[in-house]
């Protein structure tokens, strides 16, 4: 048995590592200064896909991402680690999308791919932390979903057995294919890049990344068509323009406030023995500690 696997991946700003360089003098975040990374839990999803590919010979992995042309970086990264091909869904009209418009767009892209057995994605992306796109894609495709997956234990007779997290515990579920699975960050980490695959795919790019088409590039693409990463716009996936981007997003951002902490009257002290002891004595005397 071979499987057609789709992995959903997102390029995200590295919000977990907002360093001092990324802060403006006003104390706000300069988003442009944040490095763009492969959303961490999407890498966990890719690993589950690669394990299925290892187990079921002849399986293929297609990676789908939506974003700016440079989000083709996550496709390349996935190719380096063992994916077979990728699709960048990029179009100006897709900008400003909330999770609902995003999931519509991704569902349309998956419909265009057409033939698939299992769709894997990270539980959530670190720039929004919503965990909404996976279930919404499943709903739009009319498929069952298994969220918070830890491990795909097996697939047989058209049913997947999956271990997943629940609040305060774990459960094992059995669900029929085709199926959408979102993978938790606690699942197995993704294997590293494969050196041979890096050599093979390092020049892969999507059309929008190739601002200048040199004759060398054209010759290269002709000789090695796998270096062309598929790129789709809204028209290519038959998207209804009322359902994508800002227009297709029910949620509106009313206000955004940068965080400024209100300073409290605080007492500052050193870590010296005398200071620490006087603090302990004070906390004991006012019964803050017993």
């Amino acid at each position: 048995m071979s499987l057609k696997i789709v992995v959903l991946a997102k390029q995200v700003p590295d919000t977990h590592n907002v360093g001092k360089d990324a802060m403006t003098p006003e104390g706000t975040v300069n988003r442009a200064a944040l490095p763009a990374i492969f959303n961490p839990e999407d890498l966990n999803a890719l690993e589950q896909a690669l394990r299925l590919k290892d187990k079921f010979e002849g399986s293929t992995i297609s990676v789908v991402t939506m974003g700016l042309p440079k989000s083709a970086e996550v496709i390349r990264e996935a190719l380096f680690r063992g994916a077979d091909n990728g699709y960048v869904v990029t179009d100006r009209c897709l900008g400003g999308a909330d999770t609902l418009a995003t999931s519509y767009t991704i569902a349309q892209a998956i419909k265009k791919i057409g033939d698939f057995d299992i769709i894997l994605g990270g539980r959530q992306a670190i720039d929004g932390d919503t965990a909404q796109v996976g279930p919404q894609v499943a709903q739009k495709l009319g498929l069952p979903q298994v969220t918070y997956a830890e491990e795909i234990i097996d697939i047989k007779n058209g049913r997947a057995t999956i271990k997943r997290h629940i609040d305060g515990g774990i459960e094992t579920v059995e669900a029929p294919l085709p199926l959408v699975v979102t993978v938790n960050g606690s699942a197995a980490p993704c294997r590293p890049r494969n050196a041979k695959r890096v050599m093979k795919y390092k020049k892969a790019s999507c059309p929008a990344e190739r601002t200048e088409t040199t004759p060398e590039m054209e010759a290269l693409l002709k000789a090695k068509p796998y270096l062309n990463i598929n790129q789709w716009g809204a028209a290519d996936i038959d998207a209804d323009l009322n359902q994508v981007g800002k227009a297709g997003s029910p949620t509106n951002v009313k206000a955004v406030k940068n965080i400024v902490f209100q300073a409290k009257e605080s007492r500052t002290m050193t870590g010296s023995d005398a200071d620490v002891e006087s603090l302990i004595v004070e906390l004991l005397s006012n019964n803050t500690i017993g």
Partner: protein, 346 residues
């Protein structure tokens, strides 16, 4: 029509705390809007379930009682919520930002094309102005009253965003356990109970996903209810560094929590994470060790009565909300706290 709904989460026959917290908040929102509070209880063997929710001021309890509805699986619960909402047309729907709520919420919102905001830290009612297209295709100002403000930290916690969904109903939001306060309104509150015929809402085909094994354990710690919390951040540096915090916690009868950075670094288990995407705590004493204080962490501990920050960076943002700031290294200060506590207590 137009009421406030809360989806109540059930473990067996017990309504989850987070749902009771949302009923408390939902009651306040309903009062402000002049509408009723309704809730959904879906599970198995739910006779008398209403007695658990009624005291929070529920006007109508929708009970869906069928064997296949517990343990929770996505499709049957989605089917009944979606159909009920198509009939009842609520204006607001609140769910816990739990594994269940974060599995169900997006599925329902997608089916109803309604907006959903995850992990809200505040919910308020207010007005909203937006430019919309009129019949002639011109952009004109439109004023919306009594919208649900869904307020949450965003972008890794560096900003706080207020989200509204003016044109779509219901306005959906998930909220983590402990963020809202649970308060009984009236032990004798009388609301209506409607027992629905589940087969009218859920088809046999919806039961395709089977739970074949399930282990739920009581929490290993009581971080949420602990009077003293010792929390470590990335600045603690290692698992061994956390051992010291556990030692201090043992002395003070405290619990140990952590920032997301410390959890991500693998210093401590995920279930000890404090903040927007973890546990919210309100202890009488919070000792922040090597925590810089990103807003999503602050969101989970700012109501602590007394805050001590131990940090070698005098400009750490958390120092601004701390009552006591100790400028020093965690690994040096924590052993001193233990030493002088032992010396001065009793």
């Amino acid at each position: 029509m137009n009421n406030v709904f809360v989806y109540c989460e059930l473990e067996g026959k017990t309504v989850a705390d987070v749902s009771l917290e949302l009923l408390t908040k939902g009651r306040k929102l309903a009062n402000e809007l002049g509408v009723k509070l309704e809730c959904i209880c879906a599970g198995a063997d739910l006779n008398g379930i209403e007695s658990q929710v009624m005291p929070y001021g529920v006007d109508k309890v929708h009970v869906f009682d069928a064997k296949g509805l517990f343990p929770y699986t996505t499709l049957p619960h989605t089917a009944l919520v979606v159909k009920l909402f198509e009939e009842e047309k609520p204006q607001i729907c609140l769910m816990g930002a739990t594994v269940i709520g974060r599995d169900l919420g997006p599925r329902v919102s997608s089916a109803l094309t309604s907006g959903l905001t995850a992990d809200c830290t505040q919910l308020e009612i207010g007005d909203f102005d937006m430019k919309v297209k009129n019949e002639k295709g011109e952009m004109v100002d439109k004023h919306y009253t009594q919208q649900l403000y869904q307020i949450r930290p965003a972008f890794g916690g560096n900003i706080v965003a207020t989200i509204v969904n003016p044109e779509h109903r219901p306005q959906m939001a998930t909220v983590r356990e402990g963020v809202m306060k649970k308060e009984i309104l009236d032990n004798n509150y009388k609301g209506e109970v409607v027992k629905h015929n589940v087969a009218d809402y859920v088809s046999e085909a919806d039961y395709v996903v089977k739970v074949i094994d399930r282990h739920v354990e009581k929490a290993k710690h009581n971080l949420k209810g602990a009077p003293i919390v010792i929390a470590g951040g990335y600045g603690v540096g290692s698992k061994e560094g956390f051992d010291q915090l556990f030692e201090l916690a043992k002395e003070l009868h405290a619990e140990v929590g952590a920032s997301r950075a410390a959890v991500d670094a693998g210093f401590v288990e995920h279930d000890r994470q404090i903040g927007q995407t973890g546990v919210t705590v309100r202890p009488k004493l919070y000792i922040a060790c090597g925590i810089s204080g990103q807003i999503q962490h602050i969101a989970g501990m700012q109501d602590s009565a007394v805050i001590i920050s131990i940090n070698n960076d005098p400009n750490a943002p958390i120092n601004k909300i701390a009552d006591y700031v100790i400028n020093g290294n965690v690994e040096e200060v924590v052993p001193k706290l233990i030493k002088y506590y032992k010396k001065n207590s009793k």
